[in-house]
């Protein structure tokens, strides 16, 4: 009998201990619209927001930005004028040979126990240059940063191009902890490009262990199973479109994360994310509409935080779609836009009118001389001057005034589009709403570039640099990458080219400022508003940091005062 009792006590104690361990674990439940679709940086999910959250938290970069101040909401901001060492401990640039020498951090361990060294860097750059993924983001960034050999010629479908996709002497290993990277031309975008996940570092040992003859760069493994790297989190459980769970990397070189485990759960309905947060089951919710954030701000026991960086709302008026090619019509659109109403009505105050075409938080931004305010009389006058008094004659351009936006952004962009249509019709523009599926919109905006008029809130240059933003949206193709409005201006192109190679910061700033003035004067697109990137959280969750991808790094998150 005594034996049974003793055994019972032991079992109960063990159960209590186990229960204690279970409750002592710090877990963070993140609710999002989706979970990473892939962790392959050159895979199909480079433009998928939840996947960017995965890249940011799993794949460790060589370089990052220095953390700066904290805003009124307690959100940690970066100082984008300075770079912080991550896997690269220090770096040195030799302008004579256009070569960067990176000294790598020692004693860094990945989730699978692999130790980081120069071979991982070489592997990651060789993988990027191989163009073996379906969307070669790594190559793209190498090209943007003018890394020697990462040229557009590699994209040709020829034997010669395929042979050139092997890594040459542009990236060399000097010893186990020193690598050199040579540029083909001076280019200030080198370090900004290294901060972006596309040039993050994979653990080559684990990646190669999962390579096959058909998939030598382990795209299948990184896309569906794991992205082995040297970051703070290790993938624990990943079911596409359902759950993405990570556990802390105990060997992380910046210290073990506060949370033992982060579980990112897909809850497609934003109203459900709101409801679940209010029950206290989750601690972090993202991807809500401005209206839902405004509602939660008034709810007790929930904190809504946000910060300005590169959240922007723009009206893309195509330069190849008459009559939008007429500068007077474009100006009329700018003066007919009720900026304050949009900020108040569609963003509930969590936005501000955007003056200029570069995010105002970016170093090097200048507020241009040409700014626009709501002035319907002036808009009417400009329309009359263009030959369309009170909009008469514009009806022949019905297609040009179909205002498109992404259907899956209806919650946010629907109210904006409705307000805008009302205001523009008041002046005489025969605007009709035309929401499109996101892929169709992307096809027409980014590839065909034939969409006459569209609203867009996804332009987020993740390289925080005015020149990078120019390259992305305003430079004349083929050099320009993502010029959605077919804008072209020789002065902007010239200023960009000069700024890219200019070593003197003051002169570089001057070039980039001149380009910004031209963009605003000619209305390359119509900047409407800059909005806060926001999240709703448990009140004691601290350490929110706004990254240029608009994703939140989970590493600095912790529970504050009063938390267990």
């Amino acid at each position: 009998m005594r034996l049974y009792r003793t055994a019972l006590v032991v079992v109960v104690l063990a159960a209590c201990l186990l229960a204690g361990r279970a409750t002592a674990e710090r877990a963070l439940l993140v609710l999002s619209e989706g979970v990473p679709a892939s962790l392959d940086v050159d895979g199909p999910a480079g433009n998928h927001d939840p996947s960017q959250t995965g890249f940011l938290n799993i794949i460790e970069p060589l370089v990052d930005y220095v953390v700066g101040g904290v805003n009124d909401d307690g959100v940690q901001l970066y100082d984008f004028t300075r770079f912080a060492p991550r896997l690269a401990e220090s770096w040195h640039y030799d302008p004579d040979t256009l070569t960067w020498t990176l000294t790598l951090r020692r004693d860094v361990k990945g989730c699978n126990g692999a130790t980081f060294d120069a071979d991982d860097v070489l592997y990651s750059f060789a993988r990027a240059k191989s163009l073996s993924g379906v969307a070669p983001v790594g190559w793209f960034l190498g090209n943007v940063a003018s890394i020697d050999g990462f040229t557009k010629a590699l994209l040709q479908n020829t034997q010669q191009a395929r042979a050139a996709r092997e890594l040459g002497d542009e990236i060399q290993k000097l010893d186990a902890y020193t690598v050199t990277i040579r540029q083909s031309a001076p280019n200030k975008l080198f370090l900004p490009a290294l901060t972006i996940y596309g040039l993050g570092i994979y653990d080559q040992q684990t990646m190669q262990a999962h390579a096959t003859a058909a998939d030598p760069w382990s795209h299948g493994y990184a896309g569906s199973v794991n992205a082995p790297s040297f970051g703070p989190w290790c993938v624990e459980r990943w079911r596409k479109e359902e759950v993405f769970a990570v556990k802390a990397n105990p060997d992380y070189y910046r210290g073990t994360p506060y949370f033992d485990r982060v579980i990112m759960r897909a809850v497609p309905q934003s109203a459900n994310r709101v409801g679940i947060l209010r029950t206290g089951k989750a601690q972090f919710v993202e991807g809500l509409s401005p209206k839902e954030y405004a509602f939660l701000e008034r709810s007790s026991g929930i904190k809504v935080s946000g910060a300005y960086l590169n959240g922007s709302l723009i009206l893309l008026a195509n330069w190849k779609s008459p009559p939008l090619d007429d500068p007077r019509v474009r100006e009329a659109l700018a003066y007919a836009t009720p900026y304050a109403d949009l900020v108040r009505g569609a963003y509930f105050g969590a936005a501000k009118q955007w003056h200029g075409l570069i995010p105002s938080e970016y170093p090097g931004y200048v507020r241009p001389a040409a700014t626009y305010r709501y002035d319907p009389e002036r808009a009417r006058a400009l329309l009359a001057e263009a030959g369309y008094p009170n909009g008469r004659g514009l009806e022949q351009f019905a297609e040009a005034f179909k205002l498109s936006y992404a259907l899956d952004r209806e919650n946010t962009l629907g109210p904006v589009a409705t307000q805008l249509r009302t205001a523009l019709r008041r002046v005489g523009f025969p605007v009709q709403l035309d929401p499109l599926p996101a892929v169709q919109l992307a096809d027409r905006q980014l590839v065909k570039k034939d969409l006459p008029l569209s609203l867009y809130d996804g332009l987020t240059p993740i390289g925080v640099d005015v020149a990078y933003a120019l390259l992305l949206s305003f430079i004349t193709p083929p050099a320009g990458l993502n010029n959605m409005t077919n804008f072209s201006d020789p002065v902007v192109d010239e200023m960009f080219d000069k700024a890219l190679v200019e070593p003197d910061p003051a002169l570089r700033h001057e070039y980039l400022a001149s380009a910004q003035e031209v963009l605003a004067r000619r209305l390359a697109f119509l900047p409407l508003a800059e909005f806060e990137v926001r999240w709703a959280t448990a009140p004691d969750l601290e350490g929110l940091t706004l990254h240029p991808t608009q994703s939140v790094p989970w590493y600095p998150l912790r529970l504050g005062q009063g938390a267990p």
Binding site: V134, Q269, P478
Partner: protein, 340 residues
């Protein structure tokens, strides 16, 4: 009997083959180019061409079709049981469907089972006592539940049972996200958790699946009640029931005879309602954050993910055809006239 089954299987294979061809060509008429989503901000003509090649979309349509079927030497295709890789996740479509389909089948089967368990007795009682309390209540329920779409009821139930009363869990999928689910054996979480002795997961899954199942049961049961009631009422008025009553058989025994006759057409309804519930799964899964084949289909269509769309359509069609086939076989077993 075997001849009948083989004939039906042959027809099903032909139907699937026709569907595969139609879907392949129809989705390519969609007004967008899926390469745009891949290249995103890196949409230079060269990068576009590179991604287009990677997806195989640079080839003529007929070559793409041959590759889809597995007739090209490069890679296996449909004829080898290979559905291709998703353009969004890069994962084999078959593996993704292998996860999504069991969830939908689990929810739909539970909903159908619960609906039948409720609807058949209620329908019988309604037929036995027309205009009685149960009959009137069933009539109102049928009208009421069918008056709103299932996703609306789903949201209402979440608001009421999860967020207001706290009786049901929040719509976080099919199991508490903090629990590590068991390894997949059948893909059915209730079954897998029992097989592996994970009772914590089993109870959690029961709890989490309760509301989505309730939503489906609530919306579909009214119609089943109505049909069972009508079939039973018709059977009760038939000549053999009249004869049985005239012979003085006990009323319970007469009811049993009537039920057997009424259940034969109801069996056909099971197939129809399974398909109805499969289509309802599209919205119910979204509302309850269930990553089933309904959600998968919607995502695939919105992303213009051709291999995933093709795979999802084939998988759903296959399940529906299989259910119809099973129902027809059971029907044929019950009614020899159908075997030809």
């Amino acid at each position: 009997m075997w001849r009948y089954v083989l004939l039906r299987l042959g027809v099903a294979v032909l139907q699937l083959a026709a569907l595969a061809v139609v879907v392949f060509f129809l989705i390519r008429l969609l007004p967008a180019d899926p390469v745009a989503r891949l290249v995103g901000l890196n949409a230079s003509p060269e990068a576009y061409a590179q991604s287009e090649r990677a997806l195989g979309l640079d080839r003529p349509l007929i070559q793409q079709f041959a590759a889809y079927l597995g007739l090209s030497a490069a890679a296996p295709g449909l004829l080898q049981g290979e559905l291709g890789r998703s353009w969004v996740t890069g994962e084999p479509v078959a593996a993704e469907l292998g996860r999504a389909l069991p969830l939908t089948i689990e929810v739909v089967s539970l909903a159908l089972l619960a609906s039948l368990l409720i609807a058949i007795p209620v329908g019988l009682v309604s037929a036995a006592k027309p205009k009685g309390g149960v009959d009137r209540a069933a009539f109102v329920w049928g009208l009421f539940a069918g008056a709103q779409p299932d996703y609306w009821w789903g949201l209402l139930f979440i608001l009421l049972f999860a967020f207001t009363l706290g009786l049901a869990p929040a719509p976080l999928g099919r199991v508490d996200p903090l629990l590590v689910p068991p390894d997949s054996i059948t893909g059915l979480i209730l079954m897998d958790s029992l097989l592996q002795g994970r009772f914590d997961v089993f109870l959690s899954a029961l709890h989490y699946l309760a509301l989505p199942v309730l939503t489906m049961v609530f919306t579909v049961s009214g119609a089943i009640v109505k049909m069972v009631r009508q079939n039973t009422a018709r059977a009760l008025q038939s000549e053999y029931v009249l004869y049985a009553r005239a012979c003085g058989l006990p009323e319970r025994r007469v009811a049993r005879y009537a039920l057997r006759a009424a259940l034969t057409p109801t069996l056909t309804l099971i197939g129809i309602f399974f398909s109805v519930l499969l289509s309802a799964a599209v919205t119910v899964e979204r509302v309850f954050s269930l990553n089933g084949v309904g959600q998968y289909s919607v995502r695939s269509i919105l992303d213009f993910d051709y291999p995933a769309i093709q795979g999802a359509v084939l998988a759903v069609a296959m399940v529906a055809l299989l259910v119809y086939l099973l129902v027809d076989i059971v029907h044929a077993l019950l009614d020899p006239r159908l075997r030809g």
